[in-house]
Structure formats: C-alpha cells, structure tokens
Symmetry: C2
Subunit: 334 residues, 2 copies
DNA sequence: CTGAAAGCGCTTACAG
DNA sequence: CTGAAAGCGCTTACAG
C-alpha cells in the first residue's frame, strides 16, 4: 500500500538508482529524466521512508536531549531554543528525562546503545556526569548545557553563562541604590554556579568597602521555601539587612513573601534580586529584578554547535559562554 | 567496528535467526543454545541497531508530539506526564512545535509522510484542526489533548477536562464565602473552554439568585495584561465587584496586581480565582485559589491511550475526561 | 548520463 | 529445535 522508490522507478521507467539521485540531487542527470521522475514523485505523493533512509545512510537525523526534569520553570525556554534550531535544519528532537530515576537512565542508555539518535544535547542530571563523560569518550557527539557551571572536566563541548559577572552586576546595582547590608540566599553549596554567584557578588561588596559577613550568607536549595526560611531566620537572629540577593527566582519569591509578612516593604525597606529571569519574574508582585540567564539562546547555541559538529566543523574550543544580563524591575526600585 | 547480529551469530556458532529468536524471545529454543547466545551477547555488549530493527519491523517505537509552544506555563507538566509513560514502555518521544509558523508545520508534515513515528500526541496549534483531522483519517494513530474543549468533530480520540464543572465549583466557592458580585475575565471567545467556563460559572450564580450582568463579563486573552486591564476598566466604569473569576492563572496575576494598585485588598475586598493551577499559582502573592487542570494526568492518559491503541486495544469511546478540581488558597480566604 | 547489484542490520515466513 | 533465504526500502560503489 505505501508507495516506495520502486513504484516511482517503475512508473518513471528508470532505475531506483536514478530516482535516488533526483531525490538527493547527486550525480549528473539528464534534465528531462529528472523532470519526469519529479513529476511521478509529485503525482504519487511519494516521500522516502525515514526508516529505510536511516538504515541505508547509517544516521537518523535525530538529536537526543537529556534533561533532569521538564517542569523546571526555565526548561521550556531551553527546549524551545533547541527545537527551533533543529527543526529548521530538518532534525528531530528525541526527549529523555530522569524523572523515574535509575530506570529512566537505563532506558536512556539502551537508546544510546541502539544508536537511536546521532548526537546528544544534555543538561546534566545530578550525579550522571561520569556516565555522560563515558558516553562522550566512546564517541557519542554531544554538547552540554551547563546550567550549574560545573566545568565538566573540559572534554565535552559546553554552553555556559556568566554566573560570576552576573552576580557582580547585581551587587553593583544594589550598591548603586545605596544598599550596603545584603543578605544572600544561595543555591546548594555543591554546585559550581553557587560558588560563582556567591563569589561574584561578595567580591564587589568587599571591594566597595562593605564586606559581607558569613552570617549574612545562607545556604538555600533553589526552592521558594528556602527563601522564606532564610529571611525568617535572619530576622530571628536579629541580622540587619536592606537587600537580599537570591541565587534563583523561586527563592526570591519566597523572600519577598517573608519580608512582607514581617511587615517590611519591598523595595523600600528591603530590595530583592533573583537569578534566572524565569517567565514569571516580570509578572511577580512586585516585578522581580533579576539576573537574566539566556536559556533560550543557550538551547539554540547547543543545537547549532552539535549540528556544526555533524557537518565536520570542529567544535569550538571547549566552553561557549553566553553572558547573563542584569534586569532592573520594581523589586529594587521604588 | 560496531558489532552486529552476524558477529554474535558467528561467535556463538548459530545462525542470525537463532540470535534474533533469543533477542525477541520467540519460538522454542534449546535452553543451552539460548544460554550460550546470551553469554556471547553479554560478552560483546551487543545491542541491536534501532535503525535496522525499525526497518525490518516496519515501526519505530517512537511517538511524535506536536504542541503549539514549549514555553506555556503548564506545558512542562503535560510533557512530563507523556514522557514518563512512554519511557516506561520503552518508547521515545519526538517533539514538534509550531514556533516557526508555517515552516514548522511543513517540517512536521514531512516527518509524518516519512513515517518517522508510529503515532502522535497533539495539543492542537490553533488553526490546524483540519490538517490534524486529515492526518488522522489517513490512518495516523493519534490522541488529542484538548486543552481548549473544542469537540474535534468526534473522530479523534481525545483527552479533556471538566471546564464547565470546574468553573461551577469556583462559583460555589465564591458564593459560599459571600461574594455576590463577581467580575469575570474570560479567554478568547472562539475557544470552547471559554464558553464552558463562562457558562458553568454564570449558571451557578444565576441559580443562586445572583445573575451576572453582561457588563461584568470581560473578554480577555489569557495574558497577565488582560487581567490588569479588565480590572482597571471595571473600576473606570464604576462597576461594583467583590470577586474576580479569571479563565487562567496568568490573567489572575494581572488582576491581583491591578486590584492592589487600586488600593483594595485581596481577598478582603476582592477575592480572586484563577484557572489552570500552574506551578506558580501556589507561590504567588497571595497564593492563588484556582481550578486545577490535571495537565500531567492528561499527558499520561494520552500516552497510555495511544500505546493501548498500538496493542490493538480499541480506543475508548471518544473523549476521556479527567476532572478539574477547585483548589482553595489565600486569594479567596483571609 | 544510467543501471545492476551489493549492502545497511535486522525479522520472518518457510523448510527441515 | 535450527537455519538458509528473502525482504524491509533505501544508498552507494562499480560498470558501462
């Protein structure tokens, strides 16, 4: 029932080889022959079977993408960036998550072994870097989207952003509006991005002559709850603060809530800055000043880098960095 | 270099047919032969090539998913639900969006024609229902996730939710807390869900003896801005209202903002209810009472329905409805 | 410029 | 219980 290359060949009275040539624009063909074949293709509505083409060519024109979860606030942006680029180049995107734990990774590993896709885009699920590195060293083309600034050993091509300078920009802004006593709610200490953001922020304050005490830096975990808890704890400890720098937007939302619950105003009494610039940040009450991570651009860059690799373009030397940019909104200015 | 079924066969001194049998557990084999083959498979780390299996079997074990955009607030939930189910059954998910307009659809159509996947999950991009219906009638197995309650002609199996009764629940709650003058900010009038939600909400108020005037129903477009605009307009018109029912959470966020900007309090002066229950709803200030749409469950159900169809299970009669549930939070109670 | 044939790496009747 | 052979639907040397 489904029509094949043989049907086209028969009807156009040429060989399958010739049909294949007009399909792929390879070899010199007589223009009239080509036209005849094209007419038959249109007439029959023939489209080559992806399955057969994949086997014959030894590739799939599909890129895999492995992400920890699809429900993180900024994940949609990364995915959209990657899909847009891949789709424009007629590649498909096969999606994998780790939502079901080890079983998910087993499933994923099986697909890798079966060569279900030509290359991989990955936002590293925590604890899988060794495994990912192994896959890379075995020859699986891949590009890492390093949301955590982990410096993956340097072997795997990586797209990153500027955690250090993004945080420094936030510090400069807070200093500029006269805030000298910031509280910091960090991400998990084991993440590179946490180290970078803490560092970038603190060093600017230190240089300005307002070093931040250890007591003012509280370890969080990127949840709304950790932001609220941090503020409550600071208040309970009697810490003075006129600003809060959070390592992500969700915790900043929690911070705003706890501050308002304590009867203080944002930004009048306490200015609040987040990190990420998730879609909700602009719509929050008050709109959140935050360090914009270029998630969509990172997704696009990762996809472009991988495709370029397929075409033989040497992968850019290690890291590609797309700068994060500070965005001012009402949570830091009246 | 990559090892094939022929390598395994040679090393185990059996035919490729026999290797294939132990791989797929088909036919009676001598247990000792099977054991020997399995040993060789393990030893060589052999995994059958997905490309070859796909061609030989005439299927791909891949499901396509077409969505309008990946950056909508609830999209991650639907995707995660679908991916979890597919992955557990060793299916892959090939992702398509319409972000680049007609060109996206052309690309998608090419993949369909090439039979790159066995079936399709679709959240209908606006204006593509005819095309989708055509694909279905041509034999592409598919399940629609009908976020807009459009009653797709009845031919395509569909997963939906209870827009009418969800809105009715919201109305009962507002009546229960003594709100008799609600404002309604709807979605686009052309959507079925808008009609259902307006209807479900209004009928409860009418039955309770508090019919809603047309002036109190304002057409929105699911954006934050439309919510804020609706409230400002209502105030400008001098309309009295003690509650606002919004057809989605984003517009409810805009409503809260405009109400507070006008110097009124939520929920004391005006109670606010949304629809969707996107992840941010619980973290909003104040936390938003809203009608929870079971997006993840809908994604799961869609995937399960499609897989069941592959196994020959007859598709459930038309619509599968997963109820929406009203969720009370601080935006409607002090 | 064009075609016959082998090959991609499996699965599946068909025989024995 | 096991294997030889054909077939899935293309692409790609190799010849002419």
């Amino acid at each position: 029932m489904p029509i094949t290359i043989a049907d086209v060949a028969a009807r156009a009275k040429v060989s399958k080889t010739t049909v294949s040539r007009v399909l792929n624009g390879k070899g010199e063909l007589d223009e009239s022959t080509a036209a005849r074949v094209r007419a038959v293709i249109d007439e029959l509505g023939y489209v080559p079977s992806a399955r057969a083409v994949n086997l014959a060519r030894g590739r799939t024109r599909v890129v895999g993408m492995l992400v920890p979860s699809l429900t993180w606030p900024w994940m949609g942006e990364v995915l959209q960036g990657a899909v847009d680029v891949l789709e424009a180049e007629e590649y498909g995107l096969l999606l994998f998550t780790c939502n079901r734990g080890d079983d998910s990774m087993r499933q994923f590993g099986a697909q890798v072994a079966a060569k279900s896709f030509d290359g991989l885009l990955v936002i590293e699920p925590e604890g899988t870097l060794d495994y990912i590195t192994t896959l890379h060293s075995r020859g699986l083309p891949m590009v890492l989207i390093d949301d955590r600034d982990q410096l993956s050993g340097g072997q795997i091509p990586t797209i990153g952003t500027t955690n250090h300078s993004g945080a420094a920009d936030a510090a400069r802004h807070l200093l500029a509006i006269g805030r000298h006593k910031p509280l910091v709610i960090t991400g998990p200490a084991r993440f590179g991005c946490t180290v970078q953001r803490t560092d970038g922020f603190s060093s600017v304050y230190a240089e300005a002559g307002h070093p931040i005490s250890d007591a003012h830096v509280m370890t969080g975990d990127f949840t709304v709850a950790c932001g609220a808890d941090g503020v409550k704890q600071a208040i309970a400890l009697g810490l003075e603060f006129d600003a809060v720098f959070c390592h992500n937007d969700l915790s900043a939302f929690g911070v705003v809530q706890a501050i308002q619950d304590s009867g203080r105003r944002v930004p009048d009494d306490v200015a609040v800055v987040g990190f990420d610039d998730i879609p909700m940040a602009a719509h929050h009450q008050p709109p959140l000043s935050t360090v914009h991570q270029p998630m969509r651009e990172m997704g696009e860059a990762a996809a472009r880098t991988l495709l370029a690799h397929f075409d033989g373009t040497p992968v850019p030397n290690r890291q590609t960095i797309i700068p994060a940019t500070f965005t001012v909104r009402a949570s830091t200015q009246a």
